[in-house]
Amino acid sequence: MTRPDEVLAVDTVKGDLQAFEELVKRYQGAVFRLAFRMTGQREEAEDAAQEVFIQVFKKMYQFDPDKRFAPWLFRVATNICISRLRARKKVIMLNFDDPAQRRLEFEQADIDADPLISLEKSELQREVQEVLQELPEHYRLLLIMRYQLELNSQEIARSLETTRENVDVKMHRARRLLRTAMLKRLQEREETYGMQTRRQVKH
């Protein structure tokens, strides 16, 4: 019979290293996936995952066994990923007539998804993952937790220490922002391709 996560966590505190290893085995994939989607780099994601589990081991005595283990673990993982992203930004980009920021602003206008519909499956996957990396961190995190870790709103809310309603509202905005960014990306590309085609004709 498999022991629940919370029992394993308590056993870890008692000194059972095998219990901790079992927890690592259960969650290493999810933590690595979260770290990779947040950082976008494999090596950094592995380092972050390692840091997460070491931190969890060190702080395991703070875990309340009356609550669920997974949200606590993901909270630690989230904090570490975000602090790594911030540390990586040694070169600080200041906002200076930045159209890239403006294009990602949430737009109230209705979205015409026609250009997006024609995308092939693999192309769509690649574009979505690339646009995901451009989204603001908090929106990116929500989308990763929902779709990559397959957590529901309640679990995300527990992990981020917020309310379920807040998660739902932010998730709605994140999806809309993603779609807006996708659409603009395609439109910009169309514009670029069109310009290049015209230039070639001129030459």
């Binding site: 390692q50 980009m93 690649r126 779609r179």
Partner: protein
Amino acid sequence: MECKHVARLSTEYCEGGLAAAVEQELSCHLRDCPRCQALIEYVQRESEALRSTADLPELDPDFRQRLMLQVGALGTLPNPAVIAGSASLRLAPRFADRRWLTGAAGLLVLLLVFGPWLAGATGIFPQRPQQVGGLIGLDSGVSVPVGSNPETLVLPAESLPPAPPVPDQPISSPAPVPSPAPAPVKKIDASGPVQASVPAERQIAQRPPTAAVPELAAAAESAPKSEATIAAKNNPAEMTIAEVLREDPLPILRQAAAPAATRPMLATLPGPEQMPVFRPEYLPAGYQLAGANSDSQDVLTIVYEDQPGNSLVLRVSNNQSGMSIVGAGGGAGGGERTSRTVSRLVQVNEIIYRLEVSGPLSTLELSRVADSVRPVL
């Protein structure tokens, strides 16, 4: 229900988050609206793409083994004292906590009251120092002046470590100073060997703390330097701009650094502060490095081309130099009216530089290039 409502509710509809009545109404609308049908189909595909793990790399198979080795080295119980405390807090009834707390507080008061007497009677503590008039406090060898900051303790003179010898003329002292921290700013003379010129005041500021204790300084000097020296040589932060350029894979930059006598380019940027070399990590397809130059005091220009005349120009200037935005076609090799320019401010080592990327591309592409520019430190 109108199409704009469908657009707003599309995600919730696809993921089953709508009330039954709203969902039914939306389904009715979908039957008669092919545009909204296509939108819903796209939203479903987008969700699939978000769930996709096709591009996810494999986690190192040894990850868990390596991790457990590290965890094993940490010890089995991370914090036994706190664990014991938290366990008792969980298991014991509340009044028991208060009882222990009360007991501990009482013990502390007893120690405070009778501690000095016990210490004197048992001879646990060494001979007390001479009391200075006007001092109060616990008689444990350290006295606190009346009205002073309690954190500012007055130690007996014999307990202080001997003062380190002060050099007579520290600024002009020719003695070699071990300096593990690299000088962040280095002047480069392309015609000769690269030398770091550090002002005398900075040499004093960079003196490591071991110099304050003669024994430690001597030990540091006598320690084998081989590993540290090798590590410092391999550390990019230790390398000069010229060395970075030599290691740079871009041939034009290598060319710029090697025959420096004939081409005073990147490696010889003048100015009050040595400017780092900047390079974009992203370039649109087809663009390759075509040239690089420092055409004025502290402006660095790098030109990329996909075909002759189609130039993507990256300019970096020290923001304090007040370089004005040169509009369309201002870059070397530019000249098309369709050129656009995007600007960024970048802070490196507390110095703000201004980046400008110009070229006949969309602002999105120019922004992607500008956002990917990183200094080669």
